[in-house]
């Protein structure tokens, strides 16, 4: 039960505002992240480590692209599609971007409805998010098979620098894996929401601990991160 009696300790940790709060929170000799639960904090720290993983991929891509003496294939032409007789550059990638952004939008609204204890809307919006994610992965599978069919391999391709293939498969493959894992977890959490686990404080199958609607927000952090990484891949790999 929540202990509402104000104690000296709680008075001392009355939140300060502004940049002074940074030093005050970290030196409080208590939990440093006062507004974020440990679940949310640990998701953020995991995402920070994941940021470094994707940074390393994008940096190695930058390094091989800068140091090759062979011309880099033009992504605008490589990823062009012919739709209705007109050749549209990069159109599939643009559609994938909009699909992923839309999934982020529905996820943000799912989090919002979760905190309003609206079970049905939360679960439905999460399922829509998962559907967008699955669509994205499907389009990526189409893109991969198209490129493999055209002769792109991690060690060679018909248009120029062989490092193009290895960078492409590594970066988009890792990102697609993140999306796939996200879809699976979205379905799991959506089922819990639908069943009312967080209202009945039902114990989790794996952890035997009660979940809260905050789980939806933590799930959302992961999902938005996947979208965030795509923003960087889209700009640095496809548009550059």
């Amino acid at each position: 039960m929540p202990d509402t009696t104000p104690t000296h300790a709680q008075a001392a940790m009355a939140p300060q505002a502004g940049w002074r709060s940074f030093a005050a929170d970290w030196s409080s000799d208590q939990r440093a992240f006062k507004s974020a639960s440990w679940g949310k904090t640990m998701m953020w720290i995991f995402l920070l480590s994941d940021t470094f993983i994707f940074s390393c991929f994008l940096l190695s891509y930058m390094t091989v692209r800068m140091s090759t003496t062979v011309p880099w294939p033009n992504p605008s032409e490589v990823f062009a599609l012919e739709i209705g007789g007109t050749n549209l550059p990069l159109i599939l990638i643009a559609i994938m971007t909009f699909v992923l952004i839309s999934s982020s939008g529905t996820m943000a609204m799912a989090v919002n409805y979760g905190y309003r204890r609206n079970r049905a809307k939360t679960a439905i919006l999460m399922l829509v998010t998962a559907a967008f994610g699955a669509t994205f992965v499907g389009m990526q599978a189409f893109e991969w098979s198209k490129l493999i069919h055209e002769g792109v391999r991690p060690w060679e391709n018909p248009w120029g620098a062989p490092q193009f293939g290895s960078s492409f498969f590594m970066i988009t493959g890792f990102h697609g894996t993140h999306v796939t894992i996200g879809v699976i977890f979205l379905l799991i959490i959506a089922r819990k929401v639908w069943r009312g686990d967080f209202d009945q404080e039902r114990k989790g199958f794996f952890t035997s601990r009660k979940g809260r609607y905050e789980v939806v927000e933590i799930m959302g952090l992961y999902w938005h991160f996947v979208d965030l990484v795509w923003v960087f891949i889209f700009a640095l790999f496809y548009l550059w």
Binding site: M1, D25, I45, F98, S104, G105, N112, L228, L236, W240
Partner: protein, 113 residues
């Protein structure tokens, strides 16, 4: 303690409209990014526009969708400052890549002698 913290942390409550507005902006910014490629802009104009739209997109996602704008600075600094070190790494690898390119052109080109 954990229970008391849980009651403080009653979650992020923001109007739905905010998310829809950000969603719209993400669409607009991504369209701009795509148009940079569509109109074949080149050179510094292309790079600066791509990076500008990328950072605006990323900023909106982190600040609003991931609620970082409403977190306390203790968390925001802990998460947002370390990735800046990646820029140092990028600087080091730029230097390295330039050197690799130099040695390849100087010693491995067919006509470099």
């Amino acid at each position: 303690m954990a229970q008391a913290a849980a009651t403080i942390d009653e979650g992020q409550q923001h109007p739905i409209k905010l998310y829809l507005v950000v969603w719209g902006w993400l669409f607009v910014l991504s369209t701009f990014s795509y148009l940079v490629d569509y109109f074949h802009l080149q050179g510094y104009l292309r790079w600066s526009l791509i990076l500008l739209f990328m950072m605006l997109n990323a900023g909106l996602i982190v600040a609003v969708f991931m609620h970082m704008a409403w977190e306390r600075l203790a968390l925001a600094y802990a998460i947002l400052l370390p990735p800046l070190l990646v820029l140092v790494f990028a600087g080091i690898m730029t230097f390295e890549a330039d050197y690799t390119l130099f040695t390849r052109e100087r010693f491995f080109h067919a006509d470099s002698g």
